[in-house]
């Protein structure tokens, strides 16, 4: 796929600024299929300039207060989808309790874009390289998704369907991102670029040592991110890290099917880099633990 965009202007649409969630959901319902949610706009306007999508209505959700909060609740850490990448990095809660996301946020486009990019938009962009998905997957996160009629819980790992395609219905909005751990989590995030802003691979790791839970999620390697836990990694808590990394790399190697996407990298290189990053991330994780 090419991201060439000959146009400078955006196609015509009507803009709505929603003050509350109910308004946004009812507008989405009213214009179902012809409306799009606007968060940071960084992906949306790009696609519109390219005329990949031409929505007639744009519903701006940034003004909805409840979508902009980060809270600690009994469900864990709850993050509003309209929280920006900069806000994630400024948040003590995220820094302390969601380290993979904290680090991933610093990669969500450059520093200026990060004032606009939202975590909800990042997840929903559906690009294989976006950081939010593996970072949140490594923490077993789920999404609260709502339409005018109903609300459901969707694991982040079930969000991505294909490139720029998610399992959200066109009348649904992500209203919350829930990380089910409140503390006790260490983690890391690594990414590698190859002469493009598009990652070859990104790897998130999270360790919940008290419960001996280890997670590793990998983006950009294929259309959908990969998810591993201690058992799929073949982890042996009594073995040396060296032996464990060897086991993990074997497991990863036999699971992932790297793709050659958009000429950023060959499948072979992606696969190798995914493993190198995984090894480094695990090593750093246990060194720091």
């Amino acid at each position: 796929m090419s991201y060439n965009t000959p146009n400078i202007t955006l196609p015509k649409f009507t803009y709505y600024k929603a003050d509350n969630l109910a308004d946004a959901l009812s507008l989405l319902k009213q214009y179902n299929g012809k409306a799009r949610v606007l968060a940071g706009g960084i992906e949306l306007f790009k696609q519109m300039r390219q005329r990949l999508i031409v929505p007639e209505h744009i519903i701006d959700i940034k003004g909805i207060e409840e979508l902009r909060k980060i809270d600690v609740t009994d469900r864990g850490i709850e993050i509003g989808p309209a929280v920006t990448a900069v806000e994630l990095q400024k948040s003590e809660i995220i820094r302390e309790k969601c380290p993979p996301l904290f680090k991933a946020a610093s990669f969500m486009g450059d520093r200026i874009l990060q004032n606009s990019v939202t975590i909800g938009g990042n997840l929903t962009s559906g690009l294989p390289c976006t950081e939010g998905v593996p970072a949140l997957m490594s923490m077993d996160s789920v999404l609260e998704v709502r339409s005018a009629e109903r609300s459901r819980i969707l694991p982040v790992s079930d969000l991505i369907l294909n490139i720029r395609k998610t399992t959200l219905n066109s009348d649904e909005i992500i209203t919350k991102i829930i990380v089910p751990y409140n503390g006790g989590l260490s983690g890391g995030y690594l990414k590698l670029l190859n002469a493009s802003e598009m990652a070859v691979a990104n790897v998130a790791v999270a360790l919940f040592s008290a419960k001996r839970k280890l997670r590793l999620a990998m983006g950009a390697v294929n259309v959908k991110p990969y998810y591993f836990d201690e058992s799929t990694l073949g982890w042996k808590w009594n073995e040396s890290i060296e032996e464990n990394i060897r086991l993990a790399l074997n497991a990863i190697g036999s699971t992932i099917k790297p793709m050659a996407y958009n000429r950023v990298a060959s499948a072979e290189y992606r696969g190798e880099i995914a493993k190198v990053l995984a090894a480094r991330a695990l090593k750093e994780l246990f060194r720091g633990a």
């Binding site: 965009t5 146009n7 400078i8 202007t9 955006l10 196609p11 015509k12 649409f13 009507t14 803009y15 600024k17 606007l38 940071g40 706009g41 960084i42 306007f45 790009k46 300039r49 744009i58 701006d60 940034k62 900069v86 610093s106 486009g109 450059d110 520093r111 200026i112 874009l113 004032n115 606009s116 802003e197």
Partner: protein, 157 residues
């Protein structure tokens, strides 16, 4: 068409815009603020960066209607800010510009960075400025200019 109100470099402006117009074009074409440049029209080059309510944003990726009621600051406006003027002077002195097309964006962004973090240095500073491309490659000079201007942004100053 709808009418929005913007404060641009301290002056309140009313301007009628289409919903699909981005802030970049309204600033340049309707309000004559041509310090705001563009080189990609899709968020990649950073040349269209302005301060919107104090935060740097890429104005090609921001609708004009989103900016309704907000304050926009650009490089020409910063001349009247004492510290920013020193920053501009530092750019001049260090030769932190060649063709100058990217310079206004670097000025507004580094002004923002120094305002919030006057001690910034090294990799952190580079990262903060990573959203703007300078094809003439003046990064070394900009880095020196911004570091040199830090003193003007520190409290005691």
């Amino acid at each position: 068409m709808r009418t929005i109100t913007l404060t641009v470099n301290g002056l309140s402006k009313e301007v009628s815009v289409n919903d699909n117009e981005v802030l970049l074009n309204v600033l340049r074409d309707k309000l004559g603020v041509t310090s705001v440049k563009a080189a990609c029209w899709k968020g990649e080059c950073g040349l269209c960066t302005v301060l919107l309510n104090g935060l740097p944003v890429k104005s090609c990726m921001t609708l004009a209607v989103e900016a309704d009621g907000k304050e926009v600051i650009t490089a020409e406006g910063l001349y009247s800010d004492d510290r920013a003027k020193k920053l501009q002077e530092s750019f001049v002195k260090h030769g932190a510009l060649q063709c100058g097309f990217c310079t206004p964006a670097f000025i507004v962004t580094s002004h923002h960075v120094l305002s919030k973090e006057p001690d910034i240095d090294g990799e952190d500073l580079k990262k903060e400025l990573s959203g703007i491309i300078c094809r003439c490659g003046t990064y070394y000079q900009i880095y020196d200019a911004v570091r040199d201007a830090r003193k003007y942004y520190k409290k005691e100053h």
